[in-house]
Amino acid sequence: MANFSKSNVPQFSVDIYQNEYLPEGGREVNAIVTVTSTGGGTSGGHPLAAPGYATDGAPGGAVVIMVDCSGSMDYPPTKMRNARDATAAAIDTIRDGVAFAVVGGTHQAREVYPANGGLAVADAQTRGQAKQALRKLTAGGGTAIGTWLRLADRLLATADVPIRHGILLTDGRNEHEKPEDLRATLEACAGRFTCDARGVGTDWEVKELTGIASAMLGSVDIVADPAGLKADFQAMMETAMGKEVADVGLRLWTPQGSEIKFVKQVAPTVEDLTARRTEAGPRAGDYPTGSWGDESRDYHVCVQVPNAGVGQEMLAARLSLVLPQPDGTSQVLSQGLVRAVWTDDMAASTRINPQVAHYTGQAELASVIQEGLEARKSGDIDGATAKLGRAVQLASASGNDDTAKLLAKVVDVVDAPSGTVRLKARVADADEMTLETRSTKTVRVKK
């Protein structure tokens, strides 16, 4: 649980898990990078100076809650009521001193609180006023999520704080805006703030919302029963309040002549970052990781290095956590080395690192679930059975019990270890959407 009174930026550590030994002619180097940030009075000897971070211990965060107020929120009417209650609970969780605002979203975005073109600073009074303002929320209109995000961006930009976060709640498809408009908005907003997205009910589009959360480096989940919103909003806000440092980049240096096959976050969820590189000096590039509180994430890096002879050793990658500084440079928070050593010892080069094997399986699990559900929707029963069967097998072998349970609502598991399943004839929409939304959730290596 995040400690709200803490004002220190966290200390980062990087651990590399890999089998550095390659056979003669081997070129592909895989490594799992575990990045852990821990708060507490120390920054590991690095004098951290997050821009705008108040030195008097006041929190340096701003948050905007975007609530869907489209007409569909009234079917059933409890949906709008639950959204109001959940937003109120989230507002109660905002700690004193954090700047915040509430946006009501339809086919256009409307400031609900403080409705003065900016943000309010949280205290007992403003929290009370915000909750009063929520009572005026009514359902009616369409859905254009891009407009909500743009308003949130404008509001957040008024605060000079390092950590900017949005929470977005919707119940429907983004019907009143062209997909390319949303895409352009996401490109414009990415990196300016982070945003968690929640879909309530079952009428929203999983791919749309996961795309938003992914671009905005936030989490995504389904809240099938509106009654569950309150607890979820509270937890989300607590996580947001626990963030201590923003805009952390994962910098990857690779040697001349090498090729980066992929860079993925693999825990707590699978997120492919390969295409999100920005160049950062010779042979180096930065991948965004968003903001960090007390947490640990794993990344899978795969690099193809130029061949070298047996007995040679090469640095295949250097991974650093970097924090941009106001003067344009970046501060290295922590780093780790990925090595390649060519050997003719077959026992060494054929060994598979357990972490690499595990996360290769978890990434496959996420993709076979998505492919399996896709096949099921398009009526390809055999394809869906094969893919979801493989998913059951992977989830069972890796101990991903949560995903295994979700799979069991979509297929009848005959034999998990062999991946033998039958598709269920009738599947609740909520179950299918939950499985799809949470398909990227991974578990860590069993100890």
Partner: protein, 425 residues
Amino acid sequence: MPGLPESAQSAQSISCPSCAEPLEEGDKFCGVCGADVTAPLPAAGADLPGTGPSGNGSAAGTGNGEFTDPFALAPPRSPAAAPGQTAPGQPPASADAPAPPQPAAEVTDPREELLAGPAPQGRTCVACGVGGVDADGYCEHCGHAQPRLRDHQERELEGVAAVSDRGLRHHRNEDAFAVAATSLPDGTPAVIAVVCDGVSSAYRPDDASAAAAAVGSEKLLDALEHGSPPEQAMHDALLAAAHAVAVLAEEDDVRQGPHHNAPACTCVSAVAAGPVFTVGWIGDSRAYWVPDDRSTPSARLTEDDSWAARMVSAGLMSEAEAYADERAHAITGWLGADAVDIDPHTASFQPEGTGVVVVCTDGLWNYAESAAELAAVVPADARTRPLHCAQTLVGVALDGGGHDNVTVAVLPFPATVGRAGSEPA
């Protein structure tokens, strides 16, 4: 890599540093050879003092590598040139040794010029010649690991010499050695050599061999100076070395879990004092006697603690059969926390004539297994030029393929020294 003043950089950029093709302004790569012309330029660094905050990969955030590496860089490896070549900074102590090539005078490889040149601000990669070397010892351009101190080492004292080399197929040198000279309480000069071979399948084999060589030689010297009989001294020194390796296991990172073997190595040592020399060993590193008079037989002095040796001594297999088996090299005795029972073997010899004792790891004897084969490659003047002999024997192993780390110590017999300090490697 020293930074270049802007003017020098732009002046240099007019032509490709790799093929001299003229370049357009703003070119990032040479249109002819494809070289990355934005990379730091190697050659100009030698005559320019390191000025400015470096135009190299500092933007990569890795720092421009303040040169903190405490030891000198070994020369680029070149198997053919290894014998007869001495690492810079370690001139042979004996006037008998061949004069090492003067790096500054006989530069044929541009990389050597960079190494020898006055570029104290940083090093240039020995593999690509382009990138600087970062604080972790890797090239900032091509990523290649740079030679390390232990990759190639030579030591010569009066009356004993040793050479250790990484070989051609292993990525680091897990062998270690120590040579030293002392005198017994009665004034008899004594020289010792300790050679250790880290067990590759164990964790931190390089640390194991280094610890065993250092502790083993120290204990051996100490016991000899206090008048212990050589065999007793050697027995005790091997036990002390074994203990030193065993305690390494306790330092292990607990996160490594129980899946790795405790640090382990073999050890062979030799003492030449007065009319007798003594050898002691655990594992499959060996000692040989090679007389000056090659008409008299040479001899292998040690019995391997290995599967093959056991099979032969038990009469279960012929030597040829046993050594052809893939288990031949599995060792049955070693120094380490997981060694079943440590059983140092010692033996003393009093040869008739003069000659040398060759103490070596299997990196050498794999290429000259029998005593006769080894004697055939030991130079005739081995006793008077022990360093040259050790270099030659390492060269034999490298020419044979260099499949393992190779370490050779050569002790002329009878010992011919006054008191000198200990020099553990």
